[in-house]
Symmetry: C2
Subunit: 242 residues, 2 copies
DNA sequence: CGCTGAAACTGAATCCGGTTCAACATCCGC
DNA sequence: GCGGATGTTGAACCGGATTCAGTTTCAGCG
């Protein structure tokens, strides 16, 4: 009796279709004008069927965010496997973020919305749980890098937990996304490449915690060299350009 | 003919009434269940009148965020006037943020929502402009502190612009707010006081840029002493408790 | 004063899009 | 080929934001 399995598989495939279509519609005409009936129509299903998969529109948006978070985890895993010193690997986490955002420019605007209290609480508890599960490996990977750093003697936490240190990296990244997406803000600040700037701040932060080998945050050439090295050694198949 | 002026004043007062009431309703029963008709009802006006002031619900939410941003500016101005070395003043910006959030716990959840692309673009252009204007002094104050630091010889920007340095502080703060409000995230990370942790990261970041006098980010006692000194010297009337 | 027209206010009606669910279709095991 | 379980459908429902035709208010005027 493979019937049940087939059914499940088809169900999962259809869910993916809905999610892909939703993402497409968002890319085409924005999150603002996303309509459940349009998604169903474009997939040639009835709205009722769409609601078999997602308890509400918010639920769908959170599901979409979760899928993208999983891709995000993939990038981080590459970093985890990269053979380099702990400091460079930690820095590479920032670069992974930069690359992820460049490859999925609309991810953040969806996530920012989906994770707002209003939308988050309108999604189903299961979906919320799924999202949190999907994000866990990220935390784990980053914490492990910190532990490696301590073990290798590159870093002395001096009473901090690895999680506390990670929170700073995370806040820096999350905050950069925010600023990038708040139109009219960075423009006034004349910041061109916000993610390159984020890399500089990551370096400064890591220096500030005394994570060796220290780097010179003002040395733009060295920064670019390192970023390119990471792009080449870790994300070669993602970035053809420079 | 003071008639026109009186009218304008009354109009402004009523707008304030609407905003205060909206904030109250949000505090009582959450952003999710905020209804335009309820706001009007509670103010004893018709919905139509409410719509004389705000082009849409989103417009109202952004207006609310703007009002709070103005209060935020007030805290920063105190820091600007504080007589202390540049490094401590920069740090005090972080403390101002911490205090602001503690005094207005719901501000961030509203702002986070209102600044999402979806809501932002549903607000009227005028309202968006107002918000950006309201935020400008913040940028100015922080940039000025950086310039002071350079002038005093505490800091060498080495090619960076003051704005670029500020962006890091800002991202750290904005990101911390995000993490705090994403339930289930910091809990897993066993981070108790996220804003105190943010202060540690601010110190690390400033150290990383070589902003003198350097501090020891792991010295919790010194951190608390400095925070308390700032609370006492700058925000004495805001924080009675420790 | 009362009159008048413009400006402000009102809230029932409209509109929109998310959500539901009774009816219909399909599939499986017998 | 039958019966029921399971899946699908989309028109109807519903809540709440938004509108606008009718009503009220009031400054200015004769």
């Amino acid at each position: 009796m493979g019937t049940k399995e087939r059914r499940q598989r088809q169900f999962a495939e259809r869910e993916q279709l809905f999610l892909d279509t939703a993402r497409e519609l968002i890319r085409e005409s924005g999150l603002l004008s996303l309509q459940m009936s349009r998604i169903a129509e474009k997939c040639e299903y009835a709205v009722g069927t769409l609601y078999q998969h997602f308890a509400s529109k918010e639920d769908l948006l959170l599901a979409l965010t979760t899928v993208q978070a999983q891709e995000h985890v993939g990038l981080f895993q590459r970093v985890a496997q990269w053979r380099a010193n702990s400091r460079d690997r930690m820095f590479a986490i920032g670069v992974a973020d930069k690359i992820f955002v460049q490859r999925h420019p609309d991810h953040f605007r969806i996530a920012q919305y989906a994770l707002c209290e209003v939308v988050w609480h309108a999604a189903s508890p299961d979906r919320r749980q799924d999202f949190l599960e999907a994000g866990k490996p990220i935390g784990q990977i980053v914490v492990d890098i910190v532990r490696d750093g301590v073990r290798a003697g590159d870093l002395d936490l001096r009473g901090m937990t690895p999680q506390q240190l990670c929170t700073g990296m995370w806040a820096l990244s999350s905050g950069t996304h925010n600023l990038v997406h708040a139109e009219g803000v960075l423009e006034d600040f004349a910041v061109r490449d916000a993610y390159r700037l984020m890399c500089i701040h990551v370096q400064a932060l890591l220096n500030g915690f005394g994570w060796r080998p220290l780097t010179d945050p003002a040395d733009g050439a060295a920064l670019d060299t390192l970023i390119n090295r990471i792009k080449h050694e870790v994300f070669h198949d993602f970035c053809s350009e420079s």
